[in-house]
Subunit: 713 residues, 2 copies
């Protein structure tokens, strides 16, 4: 945590729990943001003291107004600045002089309008640093704290949300208004509601640490458009999740990107920023959501109900069709239909009409009323095999919808098992749904969403139960050797290190290549081939040739002096034809490796998330099916293992259809070594072993390349 | 079309447009189905005459009651039977005697309760046939026709829907009540609303033909749980779509199935019934939906707005975040963001504040009011590059939501371009959404759904523009030869035809294998190898060995007499070890085929959809990635072409990374020949060519097997 972050943790309590607030730039003109701000704070109603500050007004909404913030005698915990963007820095300076440490800057007119605005932001930051101020914004909707001890609505939103356990952070202010409207209609309550705007000072990471400690918050929701410091976000998220067990659900918008046109490695071209974000979130336990509806559907499940012990669900319905749809969704989401005990089916048989289906999914038939719902819910929730219940209702003319809703509320209170509902329709079922919402029974418009929500609650529990500790230090690592090689290369202004040099660096991390040496002449090549022993491979080495195969610069399986000589000539002729200006370092002579399973291990540095390790099987698996896995380094043992097993092609490594079994333990070790190299040698910008040959015992690097950062570190 | 179907087409008009209705089994007890039925018909209000029929009542809701249906003097067009299941057949018999041709049987207690119920259904069918009656049900909610000429609500639903252009068919009665409730709240109108129940007589296919001709219906929605006769459904759907251009949107529930455990071919194990349903619907132009929300979201787009000319969309928003989410969804759904003309951007620049984004997606900024929406919508819809508009609104305190809704309605009327909307939130935006719903502007809760809906409208237009004609007759087909071989095999009670026999049948369809002959002894094998010419392949032929490789029954690339002799012994020893009881027909000697791209062509008969052709690349592509395509036979040229191009592995056929180009034209021809064989030789239950070797010029069958129907046709 850097200095500013430490200061923020100190100041954030003043931000959310102020005893006094100054609204700097307040006016008396209804319908304006400055006016709405004062009105909202009063209306909440804020439990502390409010000081409107305005150079022109005597009082605002009957409250005495101060010309400047420094004119206020009493101490002020929080300032809300609503002046135009051009003069905000003056207001912030005065806040600093007054000793105010927590500020929300609502005003727009900053980086979103271009360089002039960015300049303004920099001025704000300088002032904040000078006075150890922490500020939210600029260009935001404000903040809300529903805690009854403070009742703070320092925002220009239309409404104050209900008190609840969800902490919400949004980078889009306008989206907040939609969310508040949506949440109110569904009785979704919030603990803290924060529009972070341009997040110039306080950012999502600072707020994650704050919400981790906040006892009112049980579930954290994020809406992000850009992740400036992905590594910091991941660290914070991991800490929050593993320490506090609070789930983090996030929308990260901006999935589509133009894509890197020409990349020096597969890793470069396959690791689009969105794929990396996906992988990074999953690895950290952050639940990525595609849209607002998904976000709140899942959040309700986390906030309102316990997690299931197993993934076995009972489906209870008065309509066959939706029961089938819910079953489909249950299976699709890797959940299971619970198999009822004999006792349960016997009970159901007794209580339900003969036309009912007493097996899971239980169809109580269209004319089911509250008594049938009641006895069915009891029978299934009593069953030890059942870990969760999905209850469906469609409105027949005899369906006593509200009574059923109340019954579900009552029954749910008796069991430590999650109960989700879907009352299908709209107007007829509205009153029933309202009862469910009010009593924190998650309700979903379509049955499919119940399965989606439960899957995420269940998976999160599995994640928490996983082992996320770092692996033991690796043996046989010679950092100094690697560093010496990299320093030398950097000093020589090298950018691309071909196989022979990459192999040396990898060898320092005990990632071994076959015997190999660089030949500068045909004669030397023949000499080296004899030293190494036949069969051999010849490959052109050049700082300018990223893809040797594209220039026909590789000759495999050469058996004797004569073929080595001819191959040597041929490679030079091919390069001369295809890339005449390439500087040639020499021709690498390597021992031909015995066959095995070819895999790729790659690494690139993502501008936001930092070093990312990629794994895949070679050739078509990567190029046609994009069957690859990513993890942000450093990797845990579990990361390395799951990078392998998550591939669709994973069966090919474990003896599929008579193929040789690959040494998975050795492969995992290679991934961990690349992870270590990546962390310990930041000069490496991109790296690719392609292929790594995995044998039944051990792995060997058949080809590799390293790209260095252009600016030496 | 069979006789019953012809009769239905004749009777369906009486069903939906009756001038008189008898409600058979009516009662005077409020809250019962028979009572609600009479009440709903009266309340609609039905334009014709109503005759309640009840053995016990004098009158029902003040309308004179008849003891039996035959007591009615006047002619009756439609009877609704609401008697208990056990006595329905008597009522139906009397309807027949009375000359009533259209009947709806609401009563339950049929196949859904087991064999006794099925027996009852059979009795109903017999009576219907005797009198040429067509009936809907039993076990259904009834039917609704909103046409103002008739106003028929012959259902026990809670409400009569609004008049509209959507025809809805559901196999689940209870789902109908939810749909009606949902639709009413969204002002979604229906032309016909039909609960088909057990579809014992009239089924979805009959109704598709009826709705094709129904001038009130523009869009057809289906909810199906089982497709009894998939081929008939596909034929009807294809006719409806291509003739009337009415889109068909369908939910087919029951996606999950246990899966065939042990299958004799890849085709058998890969072609699960749900995959086939997916492929069959797509091939026919039916739009498959996953849930009710998707169904109506897409239906609104079809029913309310024109199709776009291109896939280029303008996104207009007052909130950046949702604009980004809509952009992501647009790209993900294979649509494009329109690139505005200079004129458009100049206009937008003039009209919008400097902080706005004047490029697509247009962000008018949170404080946008109706004037900004108005000028932006005009500017973008005037732009020739823009084929459709997505308009997003979030409710800021100054947003004049209703005025903006009205403005969208007005503007949309001026352009032949689809306009979809998403007013995000709930209570605050409700009045605005209501205006949109009332005026047939599709509205979506989340912006992402706009992109999903437009994609389906656009794709449907592309489908209509495609070529769906049958291919020209294929040359060199000797049906008689194939039939003779199949007849002989069938007569000999053969079930499994190994390669040598399959090759003969395929050859009759000009699908050639390399030179090959069956050897009965080692000596003969050597003799045949010399005749055919080295190198050769030896393979065991047996009616009992489905997978020759599993018993090590294949030896490739044999170069001389000695290796043929040894290989012959080895194969027999292997089979003796692995499958000692296998009856061996002989050892097949074939010419070794030069290398090429290996593909699989398979065929199996689905119980519902009939013959299905499968295509994929060999080995891991099929086994690991399940990268296969399916089409129901017969195939059009386009089907054959798209079966190839839709594979992810398709690039491997067209010279990927130095591989030889495969002869795609020849491959398509092979697919069409398999399609023809499948149609013309119904004795073949399952067939697989694995592999077919595709060379740069031509294809050759390297291995094949055929499974015959157990019961001869």
């Amino acid at each position: 945590m850097n200095t500013r972050s430490v200061i923020h943790q100190f100041n954030l309590n003043k931000l959310f729990y102020p005893e006094s607030i100054a609204i700097v730039g307040a006016t008396n003109t209804p319908g304006t943001v400055p006016y709405d701000m004062v009105k909202n704070i009063i209306k909440a109603p804020f439990r502390g003291t409010v000081y409107p500050v305005s150079p022109r007004e005597k009082s605002i909404i009957k409250i005495r107004c101060y010309k400047y913030v420094i004119d206020i005698k009493e101490s002020v915990d929080l300032a809300i600045i609503v002046f135009p963007g051009a003069v905000c820095h003056m207001a912030l300076e005065q806040c600093g002089q007054k000793g105010i440490k927590a500020v929300v800057i609502i005003s727009a007119g900053f980086r979103e309008i271009g360089p002039k605005g960015l300049e303004r932001e920099n001025r704000l930051i300088a002032i904040a640093k000078k006075y150890d101020i922490s500020f939210i914004g600029p260009n935001c909707l404000g903040i809300i704290n529903t805690d009854s001890r403070v009742k703070l609505n320092a925002s220009f939103a239309r409404k104050m949300p209900e008190e609840g356990t969800i902490g919400f952070l949004s980078q889009s202010g306008a989206l907040c208004t939609a969310v508040l409207d949506y949440a109110q209609a569904h009785h979704i309550g919030f603990s803290k509601f924060i529009s972070i705007g341009n997040k110039t000072d306080i950012n999502e990471t600072d707020l994650l640490y704050y919400l981790m400690e906040d006892e009112k918050t049980k579930v954290i929701l994020l809406y992000l458009e850009e992740v400036t410091n992905g590594q910091a976000l991941l660290h914070a998220a991991q800490e929050v999740i593993l320490k506090s067990h609070k789930p983090i659900l996030a929308i990260k918008a901006g999935r589509t990107n133009a894509g890197a046109a020409a990349a020096a490695s597969h890793t470069g071209s396959l690791a689009g920023s969105d794929e990396i974000c996906d992988a990074a979130f999953k690895q950290t336990g952050i639940i990525r959501c595609d849209n607002i509806e998904e976000l709140f559907n899942r959040a309700m499940a986390f906030a309102y109900q316990p997690a299931p012990i197993t993934n076995k669900v009972a489906i209870i319905t008065n309509a066959g069709g939706p029961g089938v749809l819910a079953t489909d969704a249950t299976i699709k989401n890797s959940l299971q239909l619970a198999r009822f005990s004999d006792k349960t089916t016997t009970t159901l048989k007794k209580q339900l009409p003969t036309t009912a289906n007493i097996h899971n999914p239980v169809d109580m038939i269209g004319d089911a009323k509250v008594d049938r719902y009641s006895s069915t819910i009891t029978a299934t929730l009593e069953d030890k095999e059942v870990a969760a219940a999905f209850i469906i209702l469609t409105p027949q003319s005899m369906t006593d919808i509200e009574a059923i809703a109340h019954e579900i509320v009552n029954q749910s209170a008796n069991y430590q098992k999650p109960v989700y509902t879907s009352f299908m329709g709209e107007a007829d079922v509205a009153a029933g749904i309202n009862i469910l919402h009010h009593n924190q029974i998650p309700h979903y418009r379509i049955p499919e969403s119940m399965a989606d929500a439960l899957k995420h609650v269940y998976d999160f529990q599995q994640y928490l139960n996983g082992n996320h500790s770092m692996p033991a230090p690796l043996s046989n690592i010679r950092i100094n050797k690697a560093q010496a090689l990299l320093t030398k290369a950097t000093q020589n202004n090298r950018h691309f290190l071909p196989q022979n040099e990459a192999a040396e660096i990898l060898a320092a991390y005990d990632l071994l290549s076959p015997p190999q040496q660089l030949a500068k002449s045909k004669k030397e090549a023949i000499y080296l081939a004899n030293q190494i022993g036949y069969p051999v491979v010849l490959k052109v080495m050049s700082d300018d040739i990223f893809h040797k195969h594209d220039v026909n610069g590789v000759q495999l399986n050469l058996q004797n002096n004569r073929t080595v000589a001819t191959a040597y000539d041929l490679i030079l002729q091919n390069v001369e034809t295809k890339q005449p200006n390439a500087r040639i370092n020499g021709i690498l002579v390597t021992k031909m490796i015995q066959q095995g399973t070819e895999v790729i291990i790659g690494m690139k540095r993502d501008p936001s998330f930092g070093p990312v390790v990629m794994f895949g099987l070679g050739g078509i698996f990567v190029e046609i099916y994009r069957d690859v896995s990513f993890r942000v380094a450093p990797l845990t043992n579990e990361d390395a293992a799951s990078m392998i097993t998550q591939l669709k092609a994973a069966p090919l490594l474990s003896g599929f259809r008579g193929r040789p079994r690959a040494d998975i333990e050795s492969l995992k070790d290679c991934l961990l070594r690349i992870s270590a190299l990546t962390i310990e040698c930041p000069q490496i910008e991109e790296l690719e072993i392609n292929p790594l040959i995995v044998h039944p015992q051990g792995c060997i690097v058949a080809d590799a390349k390293i790209i260095l950062q252009t600016k030496p570190q």
